[in-house]
């Protein structure tokens, strides 16, 4: 690990991408993530990388498509309304099996909503957003350090699956300053993408053209392509689920499932309750897709556990996945707030104890 520095989340995300060997960035300004673009507008030239402010988020998504299709490591950052505009492109990128990293510093919605912390894009990130049968690999950090770590992990994962990876932060993760350490020498080597990238036939000594596309007019071919995608999502579920168990050793009666900024508040609430002699466990999904299905089921199935609650900065989105995983074994509740008011630990304590 390198030296610990104090950095804003958005800047740390930009720096982490460079340390992960991604020297290509296309973006469009939107609050609350514009600092990533501002930071990279001077950092990318320093490291000989590409920085381009595009005309729209729609265009950004296709610049990412083109760059990734040409075999380059590439990423962008945006916030909720911008990700909606990019979602058409995300569908194409997933369909054409291109590796790329997207960051959504989520703000409140629907519509223009607000600019404060929110987790209202859970459905969009985990269930689609664009059209067609596809998934993104979704990671959700709870701190600036974890955002930086996930950025560095995101590129190899995108390349492993040839699938877009999205990091779901929120206004707090993006705007907050925290100490962060960057891993040294984690710059990953470019993968050999000669079998699919449009990197020029002469550069890969081939007489066979590579075609980057998502059009399959033959029904059998499209079915085949989507089976390949499905197999990747199944493999993600086997190999790349990440979650943090918190206070899971005791005889907890209540189980919280929470992620990102909200889970930090829940940790404080759990610690405070523990002092009072009340045990509450938590599963914090770090990947939202693939979702820690087995972990949530097993945690809910523990004999001491009487109730499960999904606590999120939305009107109840992840709770549907929690219900799905708990399979009716325990009552599943929801608590959340929208608009940018992050609940206090005291509020979480009240909600959990009143279950």
């Amino acid at each position: 690990m390198g030296k610990k520095v104090l950095m804003k989340g958005n800047e740390a995300i930009g720096e982490a991408a460079i340390r992960a060997g991604c020297l290509n960035y296309f973006a469009y300004p939107i609050t609350p993530q514009s600092e990533v673009a501002e930071y990279l507008s001077h950092r990318m030239p320093e490291v000989g990388g590409v920085f381009l402010q595009a005309e729209s988020e729609v265009a950004v998504a296709y610049m990412i498509y083109g760059a990734a299709g040409a075999g380059a490591r590439v990423f962008t950052t945006s916030s909720s309304p911008g990700i909606s505009l990019m979602s058409e492109g995300l569908s194409y990128i997933a369909g054409a099996q291109l590796p790329a990293v997207f960051v959504n510093i989520v703000r409140g919605g629907p519509g223009l909503g607000g600019i404060l912390p929110s987790q209202g894009d859970y459905f969009q990130a985990t269930k689609g957003g664009g059209h067609g049968d596809y998934h993104l690999l979704v990671m959700a950090p709870e701190s600036v350090q974890e955002a930086a770590d996930m950025m560095m992990r995101a590129f190899p994962l995108a390349e492993k699956y040839r699938n877009p990876v999205i990091i779901l932060g929120d206004g707090l993760i993006g705007q907050m300053m925290e100490p962060v350490e960057f891993h040294d020498h984690l710059r990953t080597d470019p993968v050999n993408n000669n079998h699919w990238a449009t990197n020029g036939m002469q550069f890969r000594n081939s007489s066979k053209p590579n075609i980057v596309k998502s059009l399959f007019l033959d029904p059998d071919e499209l079915n085949e392509n989507n089976l390949i995608l499905k197999a990747k999502y199944e493999r993600m579920k086997k190999e790349d689920i990440l979650f943090e168990p918190y206070n899971m050793d005791g005889p907890y009666q209540k189980l919280i499932v929470s992620y990102g900024t909200m889970s930090r508040v829940c940790k404080t609430a759990i610690d405070n309750l523990k002092v009072k002699g009340i045990e509450v466990g938590m599963i914090r999904p770090q990947t939202l897709f693939p979702f820690p299905e087995t972990a949530v089921f097993e945690a809910a199935a523990k004999e001491s556990c009487k109730a499960v609650i999904s606590i999120e900065l939305s009107m109840g989105q992840m709770v549907e996945d929690v219900q799905r995983c708990v399979q009716g074994l325990r009552p599943v509740h929801w608590y959340g707030e929208c608009g940018g008011n992050v609940p206090t630990p005291e509020k979480v304590m009240d909600v959990v104890t009143s279950l």
């Binding site: 296709y62 036939m201 550069f203 075609i211 980057v212 596309k213």
Partner: protein
């Protein structure tokens, strides 16, 4: 006697899906010939549109990316920015470039992206079955303008070459036609110029090609050539709207 005429190496053996009398095949051939002549096939990446040329990648023998509808200039920007050593062109129709992709083409041109756009203008949506395009002529009957294009209602046809020539940055903007051999010879020269300018690392180059669509115009190929010459060419004037030489100061010429 040696061989004087043959299929370009950059053109594949596949039969195209284009209709009889369609000029896409002519344009494909011109592009392939020039790519051979410039010896750039090994570093060439084409970007296909959504429209009749959506399957263009099947007819060439070099790398290709297929873009979403209208987004080819953004895709080409992504490719060229990360790999300036590649030769990149987009191939787009009038619905793709002048309607849904207007934002992408204007901004790519204005940034002076160092790729070339081939713009096939046949005044109609071909792939979806003959709907009105932004380039459909006043009074022209289409499946969505059954009484003829009403300019009081939907405005006049867009002149893309003139529109892009109003920008300061692009290096080369021209409009040519591929409806008769005499035009085709000139069109080839224009495409070759545009490609050469890209190889010289000059800013954005653009070749609009007036084309025919007998199927959706409900004409025979011969009738469609006559209609294109009489009607389209009187509105869409051929010529070079901007050349590197015409750029003042030369700041963005190269």
């Amino acid at each position: 006697m040696g061989k004087t005429y043959q299929k370009p190496e950059a053109l594949s053996d596949q039969h195209t899906h284009y209709c009889p009398g369609c000029t896409h095949g002519v344009i494909h051939r011109l592009i392939a010939e020039i790519i051979d002549e410039l010896d750039i096939r090994g570093r060439c990446v084409g970007v296909a549109p959504v429209g009749c040329a959506v399957l263009a990648y099947n007819y060439f023998v070099f790398d290709f990316q297929e873009a979403a509808h209208g987004r080819a200039p953004a895709v080409a920007t992504g490719i060229k920015r990360v790999r300036p050593d590649l030769f990149v062109f987009t191939y787009q129709g009038d619905g793709d470039l002048a309607s849904i992709g207007m934002g992408e083409i204007i901004h790519a041109a204005n940034r002076g992206e160092k790729f070339t756009s081939i713009f096939v203008n046949n005044a109609i949506y071909g792939m979806t079955g003959g709907q009105m395009a932004p380039t459909t002529m006043p009074g022209q009957h289409t499946t969505t303008s059954p009484f003829g294009r009403d300019v009081e209602d939907v405005g006049m046809p867009l002149k893309m070459a003139e529109l892009l020539a109003a920008l300061q940055t692009p290096a080369y903007i021209t409009r040519q036609a591929v409806i008769k051999p005499k035009y085709i010879v000139k069109a080839k020269k224009a495409i070759k110029k545009a490609f050469t300018y890209q190889l010289e690392k000059r800013c954005f180059s653009f070749v609009e090609l007036i084309s025919t669509c007998p199927t959706n115009w409900a004409m025979t190929p011969n009738e469609s050539v006559k209609w294109a010459e009489d009607t389209l060419l009187s509105y869409y004037e051929l010529g070079e709207y901007k050349t590197p030489e015409s750029l003042s100061g030369g700041a963005n010429a190269k």
